[in-house]
């Protein structure tokens, strides 16, 4: 039953994606093609990883609004280190980003899990705070592409597999790996299942003797770590990192999660849903910006309606399920 409900939601999303593709292919010349895939997949990679992190937190009936700031901070920090020392090993750079993200996520986690401040307040606060620390730390300087090591500059162009003009970029492969890993984690590990349990009923989780605080903490740390990874990819993709890097990504990640069918009040949803949600949003954005007939400025208005529709449809499903 539950499986079917989730699968159904994912099916609806896939259908929507196909519809969007079909619709735009009528309007835009040469729309369907390798270029579209390359473009959208590369930009989805960033949003999807962030949305996966957000999913972990949202599943536990929390929310992390600070991810945009974490992305900006890690992108800047790692960029700075790499600018200062071009010889830092790539792996070290990635670990640095993930570690820094995890540390920032841990701050959120402590405040939410042990100080018992509602997540929305904590992360609203750290959204501002992390950004401030970034501005102060960076002295409002900018990371410049020219100072970055060549391997990083080449990273966005790196293909894992290519078929004619269809490229599977390395960053996309990273995203897919993360998605598979976390899908398995959530589905098959007892840790993952307990995240669902906490979000489904915090009281029951508490009385069942789950270490709810540690689990919620872990969700925030993982979310931070994934935001850190996103920060690294962000650095690779955009090269120039200013103090506003990643601004607004928090809302976009929440939007992706909601469109992806993850219940904003926890307990249900899947990583696949989050990835599909992110894909749909990015696809829509990329398509609208290309279309000459439809104003690109309709983008946000459409996205708003899309979120409403996704949630409304979902709630209809839920109501059906409740009634025997």
């Amino acid at each position: 039953m539950r499986l079917r409900a989730e699968t159904r939601r994912e099916g609806v999303l896939l259908l929507l994606i196909v519809l969007v593709l079909f619709g735009f292919s009528l309007v835009i010349e040469n729309y369907l093609g390798a270029r579209l895939f390359n473009r959208v997949s590369a930009s989805v990679a960033i949003l999807a990883i962030l949305a996966i992190g957000q999913t972990l937190v949202v599943l536990t009936r929390n929310i992390d609004l600070s991810v945009g700031s974490i992305v900006g901070f890690t992108a800047y920090f790692v960029g700075q280190q790499l600018s200062l020392d071009n010889d830092i090993h790539p792996l070290v750079a990635v670990l640095m980003a993930v570690g820094l993200g995890a540390a920032l996520g841990a701050c959120n986690g402590v405040l939410v899990a042990w100080c018992r401040v509602p997540a929305i307040i904590v992360t609203l606060g750290t959204l501002a705070l992390y950004r401030t620390i970034l501005v102060e730390y960076s002295d409002a300087q900018t990371i410049l592409t020219v100072n970055l090591p060549q391997w990083l500059i080449d990273l966005p162009r790196l293909n894992v597999v290519s078929y004619e003009r269809l490229h599977l970029r390395a960053v996309v492969a990273v995203m897919l790996a993360v998605a598979v890993l976390f899908q398995l984690l959530l589905r098959y590990s007892s840790f993952g299942r307990r995240l669902y349990a906490i979000g489904s009923s915090p009281e029951a989780a508490h009385s069942a003797g789950f270490p709810t605080r540690r689990l919620v903490f872990a969700a925030f740390v993982l979310c931070g770590a994934l935001a850190g990874l996103t920060g690294f990819l962000f650095l690779a993709r955009f090269g120039n990192i200013t103090v506003v890097a990643g601004l607004g990504l928090e809302l976009k990640s929440v939007a992706a999660v909601v469109v992806g069918g993850i219940n904003i009040f926890g307990g249900s949803g899947s990583v696949l849903g989050a990835v599909l949600g992110a894909s749909l949003i990015d696809l829509l954005e990329n398509s609208l910006i290309r279309s000459l007939q439809v104003s690109e400025f309709l983008r946000d208005a459409l996205l708003g309606i899309l979120i409403l529709a996704a949630v409304a449809i979902d709630s209809v499903f839920m109501k059906r399920r409740r009634d025997p």
């Binding site: 300087q141 592409t145 020219v146 966005p156 993709r237 955009f238 120039n240 506003v244 910006i289």
Partner: protein, 346 residues
């Protein structure tokens, strides 16, 4: 900055017919004036360079007062600029130097500042209506900027010409808007008839947005040959986008950029030519003008001539690119290509 200047564009704004009713003012040093230098927003390299220039002038003039470099953050630029001007007024500063990113929205606050006796000088980007502004320190002649951009486009695309698009900063950036308007005017000449401007988009001077806008342009206009970005942020982002897409062979980037940021793209052919002026000098000159007005040594009226330290003598003229307003014209333009960019980048 030692620039090899390939092209020095008409800067010498002629000897004024109005005659030199005013004798050249030599700045008297050591007078106190608390001044605020406000960029469009923080985190942009060129503005930091302007700050360096202003600091140089500040020390040279031995001003016992303070020089504050305060800017809003990019996402809050408009409201932030207004707030900073208002606060400076409240604080009783003696002068404020504005690189306006708020169109005419900043005019009421600037007017209020002037009413309180602050010297209000704009630099880099003017107040379009000139309301509340005393003098605009123009880096180059804005009409000329259009011609320079058109020339670069022509030189890159050749006689055959082709489609090109403009990737600008924010939609309210007065300087960029003036340049784009000037370029459109310039394009009407027969000489540029092969150049076809297909679109103007805005990257808000943010790397990510500029990058995405550049990609969108590529997808939207398959025949586009050139992206012209009259902003130091936009031009780098566009160049990186093209490089990431391996499209440097088909589409070029040009516009206004910093040699230090652009050197690799110029060397690998993504951005064969671009232009800029010295932001250090711009900051230096702006500081001189503001200091002189704030200390009452000049009034900031048409026809006044003054000496700006190492940069020599300047005169306040009517701004021919606007209906109203005065300007001090700095210049010159420097155009960079792979022959001179490496030297300039150092």
């Amino acid at each position: 900055m030692k620039l090899k200047q390939l092209m020095t564009l008409s800067v010498v704004a002629a000897v004024l017919g109005a005659g030199s009713a005013h004798a050249e003012v030599m700045a008297e040093k050591g007078k106190e004036a608390n001044l605020v230098l406000m960029p469009k927003f923080i985190g942009i390299l060129v503005f930091d360079q302007a700050h360096d220039g202003a600091r140089e002038a500040h020390e040279e003039l031995a001003n016992p007062g303070t020089l504050e470099f305060i800017g809003p953050t990019p996402e809050n630029s408009v409201a932030g600029q207004i707030e900073i001007v208002t606060t400076a007024t409240t604080q009783g500063q003696d002068g404020i130097m504005i690189s306006n990113n708020s169109g005419d929205q900043i005019a009421p606050a600037a007017r209020a500042a002037r009413e309180k006796g602050l010297a209000v000088v704009t630099w880099d980007s003017q107040i379009p209506s000139a309301e509340g502004e005393q003098v605009f320190v123009a880096q180059v002649d804005f009409d000329q900027t259009g011609v320079v951009m058109a020339d670069m486009a022509l030189s890159i695309l050749g006689e055959a010409g082709g489609d090109f698009a403009i990737l600008s900063a924010t939609p309210d950036a007065a300087n960029q808007n003036s340049w784009i308007a000037a370029m459109k005017t310039a394009l009407e000449e027969d000489k540029y008839s092969a150049l076809n401007l297909v679109d103007v988009v805005y990257g808000d001077d943010q790397s990510e947005k500029s990058y995405n806008q550049a990609l969108a342009l590529i997808d939207k206009y398959p025949n586009m040959k050139l992206i012209m970005a009259p902003t130091s942020v936009g031009i780098v982002a566009a160049a990186k986008a093209l490089q990431d897409e391996d499209l440097c062979g088909q589409i070029k980037v040009s516009g206004l950029g910093l040699p230090a940021e652009m050197v690799s793209y110029t060397m690998n052919g993504c951005a064969p030519e671009f232009a800029l002026w010295s932001f250090v000098d711009l900051g230096y000159l702006t500081y001189y003008v503001t200091y002189l007005i704030a200390t009452g040594q000049i009034e900031g009226v048409e026809g006044e001539t003054f000496s700006a330290g190492r940069m020599g003598s300047y005169t306040i003229h009517k701004d021919p690119t606007r209906e109203q307003g005065l300007r001090v014209l700095m210049g010159p333009f420097s155009v960079y290509d792979k022959d001179n960019v490496e030297a300039a980048a150092r």
